[in-house]
Amino acid sequence: MKWDDLLLMRHELQLLAVILIVTCAEIYLSGRDKSRIIPLSLALFGIHMAAGWLWPAEGELFGGMYRTNGLIHLMKNILDVGVLIVLLQTGGWARKQLVPENRASEFFLLIWSSLLGMYYMVSAGDLLMVFLGLELSTLPVAALAAYEVLKMRSAEAGIKFILTAGLASAVTLMGISLLYGSTGTFVLADLGKQMQGNSLEALGFLFFFAGIAFKISLVPFHFWTPDVYEGAPISVAAYLSVISKGAAVFILMILLMGFAPLLTDLWVNVLYLLAILTMTIGNLFALRQRNLKRLLAYSAVAQAGFIMLGFMSSQQDGKASIVYFMLVYLFSNLAAFGVVQTIELHTGKEDMSDYEGLYRTNPRLSLVMLLALFSLAGIPPLAGFFGKFFLFMTVASAGYYLLLTIAVINTVISLYYYLLIVRAMFLRKSDNPLPLVTSDGWMRAGLVICVAGIVVLGVASGVYDAIYALCAHL
């Protein structure tokens, strides 16, 4: 192994450097200068994100334990963009609440550690590596969910998350050991060759899958989602709904489409069923929610069901539709969370009825929310429409017209509860609407990036074409 080969791990090394620099800064900056950690962290991460797009490479390290290629590179970059937006949206909150308590840098460090775990997970060439990455990405999030220690709900969210995540890890590990027992190997590339398609492997696969499904919050593994989203700080909920879910979707896609050819029939059937359940149950539960965080949580569950539609075809179009949808979903969902966060931070309100008449006092925030919700609902010409359309095309290309019909009906159901928020903001007039909220510069930057993504990503077809081309090989 040459030293240059380590450059394949550029993302990981860069992020590690960022983590170390911020740790040193935390140690050396004195109390009064601590607030500088926020711009420093954001700047460093911004540089990391930008640098990540350069020089994609392809290759393996450590005897195949670590692998990367153009698509994996892109996945990491997508996660980076998402984390950058989350961090931008965190900026104001961190300054207001965390800096006085002297806990700002830990927040960033925990998020980055989790992101580092996701990098390794996505890049894993080996089941053990997948598991290590999964654990590294999960544990810091439990701490993050409980970050507002003095709030009971936040602590509760942390406990709930760590318990379910622990269970999920155990189940995953069980699945891995069954797979190992049957095939005698951890290496993904060999796994596909050694598999015989027996029922032990099927069982191992199901266990393994259940563990990942927890992270994606597929029904019936979704029960933690609304409680944790509601209790955790909103940035953490946003992180969970987009980044954590995204990484899990990516690894699932790599494993299923790349390395489990014999089990294809099995997992297509499993996902067919879970997609229907997840979309329908997520949507039906979302209908009755009045707390926006819970509503967005159930909407995130439903969206996870839509993502599963992309798995119906292992061809290039299926892969591309999944990656593209994740990218689109990231911008849309983070915009929605950003608005909820801004309003919560300044007024403490997070109920749908509090949003009544919001447009007349806060036109800009309302418009951002409108775009985000319409994009989530899949209204043209916003990016969400294209994301959903390509997922639906994947389903149709595989010939599952019944599933397609159920999916499109679900988009109508989801439109209803998204419109409820629009109704509160635009249609209703309130005697005492929320006052004009001035968001901080960081948040504004985050929202602007999201809106740009929502508006441009769909119409500019180059993005999808580029993703499609990268999906040629996994």
């Binding site: 043209p380 149709a396 019909t405 419109l419």
Partner: protein
């Protein structure tokens, strides 16, 4: 650059301009200027189209161009028009411009109102100039969604309920449509053996009959919901009654035509065999719709509900005519779309004017308005006469062609349904004349009515914009009919009757 793109660029620029125009008056000026330009562009398009045809261009679609969009999926933005779409584009331009004038008095969130209104119109224009299923679907949804805000924010009565019902029902329709369109895509093949969304390529390649049987109902119902196909029409009366005047105008006048146009251009043109097989079922639905909605209109007391049910009845007639699958009836269907678009827009405009003055829409509460509001009342009478199909006005030409075409079918089934549908004309006469009699004639009900102001200049402009084409169409229907008939040839060839 393709001149059809102008029809998208002008509204886009208008919306852009509106975003920067604040205050109560500036937005309406910007909207009026933009839509006047759009109207001019539409007129120019008609002239250019006629010129091309006169010069002997016999292509199915004129002014075509094709822009690559998502290259790996062979999704393109294909533009093109034929006589049918040109005439509907002109209709849209007229109704939109009239709508802007009628909304002159909207002052609450004026900017937002005109932005939504013009976005809606943009969706409609985009739909009519597209000849590929992807862009058509995109513009279709783009046209529907501003309705939610327009009805919800500026509407009256149970506006939230009506807006939600309308949006969800139309979106559900478009959801089924999406399944149908994707099915068409995956069963299509162009010359290079790729899947395609392009209408002409799909038609050339043909769709296997088994697939047609599956996707024809989905597509027809999907578009039909917007065309008020019975029993999926219930969004229409509530939606129209709650919507602000200009929105009712655009919606009944133009947006519902998207449904008819889609049924005709996508469902029937691409799946002619299935259409011939299944038309009996939909004839029953639409035929009942014509009678049912007309009788329902008699029972209503609210002017907007009367007109909404009348719209459902007339739009049902459009679908009924399309399902007759022959040249005369199809020509009639397109004529009816245009005639009804103008008429119903005019009706809603007048109802809006009356409501602003009398603050009621209940027929029985008004009376003798002809004496105090001569202009509005006279126009109302003309619109009513057009609606019940008086010769010399647009409705007569359209309905005559439809019924003659429908009666061309020699079998009992078609003839019986035609006779039933014709009877709706009598019912129409009942509700129109009753309203005219009670509301316009007789003594003045309220003394306060004597002081009502007559029509303002912007109201007159809007009304004249609509009434001139109604009269024009009634007196000189032939050039329009020729333009349409020529464009029906590909469809008739597909059906095997041309």
């Amino acid at each position: 650059m393709n001149m059809l793109l102008l029809l998208l660029i002008i509204p886009a620029l208008t919306v852009g301009g509106l975003l920067f125009s604040n205050g109560k008056r500036l937005p309406r000026m910007v909207a009026a200027v933009g839509m006047s330009l759009q109207f001019a562009a539409a007129c120019y398009l008609v002239l250019a189209y006629l010129q091309e045809r006169a010069a002997g261009n016999t292509a199915e679609m004129l002014f075509t161009s094709s822009y690559e969009w998502f290259k790996y999926l062979n999704i393109r933005f294909d533009l093109g028009v034929d006589g049918v779409s040109v005439s509907l584009i002109l209709l849209t331009a007229i109704v939109t411009l009239a709508g802007v004038f009628i909304s002159w008095r909207v002052e609450d969130l004026a900017k937002e109102f005109f932005v939504s209104l013009i976005l809606l119109a943009t969706g409609v224009f985009g739909f009519f100039i597209s000849i590929d299923l992807f862009s058509m679907f995109l513009f279709y949804e783009l046209a529907v969604i501003p309705m939610y805000l327009l009805i919800g924010i500026w509407g009256s009565g149970p506006r939230e309920y009506a807006a939600m019902k309308l949006t969800l029902m139309l979106m559900a329709g478009s959801a089924f449509l999406l399944v149908g369109l994707l099915g068409l895509y995956f069963y299509s093949a162009n010359a290079a053996d790729q899947h395609t969304f392009n209408l002409l390529e799909i038609a050339r390649g043909g769709i296997p009959i088994e697939a047609q049987r599956l996707f024809f109902p989905l597509t027809f119902v999907g578009f039909g919901v917007l065309g008020a196909l019975f029993p999926f029409h219930t969004w229409s009366p509530d939606g129209h009654a709650s919507a602000p005047t200009a929105v009712s105008m655009l919606h009944a006048g133009v947006l519902m035509k998207l449904g008819g146009y889609g049924c005709f251009r996508v469902a029937i043109f691409l799946m002619p065999e299935a259409a011939a097989e299944m038309s009996w079922f939909f004839i029953i639905l639409t035929g009942s719709c014509v009678i049912y909605a007309a009788t329902h209109a008699i029972l209503q007391t609210d002017l907007k509900y009367i007109n909404a049910y009348s719209s459902v009845s007339h739009c049902g007639l459009v679908l009924f005519a399309i399902l007759m699958l022959n040249e005369t009836a199809l020509t009639g269907a397109v004529l009816q779309m245009i005639s009804h678009g103008l008429m119903t827009a005019l009706f809603f405009a007048l109802i809006g004017m009356l409501y602003e003055r009398t603050h009621t829409r209940i027929v029985q509460e008004m009376g003798g308005l002809l004496k105090v509001l001569p202009f509005i009342s006279a126009v109302y009478v003309i619109a009513g006469l057009a609606s019940l199909g008086l010769p010399g006005l647009s409705g007569f030409v359209a309905e005559l062609s439809i019924f003659v075409g429908a009666f061309e079918h020699p079998d009992v089934f078609h003839r019986v349904w035609t006779i039933l549908a014709v009877s709706a004309i009598v019912v129409t006469a009942v509700y129109i004349l009753r309203v005219v009699g009670v509301m316009l004639m007789g003594p003045i009900k309220e003394p306060a009515y004597a002081a009502l102001p007559g029509a303002f200049w912007y109201e007159k402009t809007g009304a004249l914009l609509l009434i001139l084409p109604i009269v024009g169409m009634g007196l000189l229907p032939l050039w329009l009919a020729d333009m349409i008939q020529f464009s029906l040839i590909p469809l008739l060839r597909a059906l095997g009757v041309g």
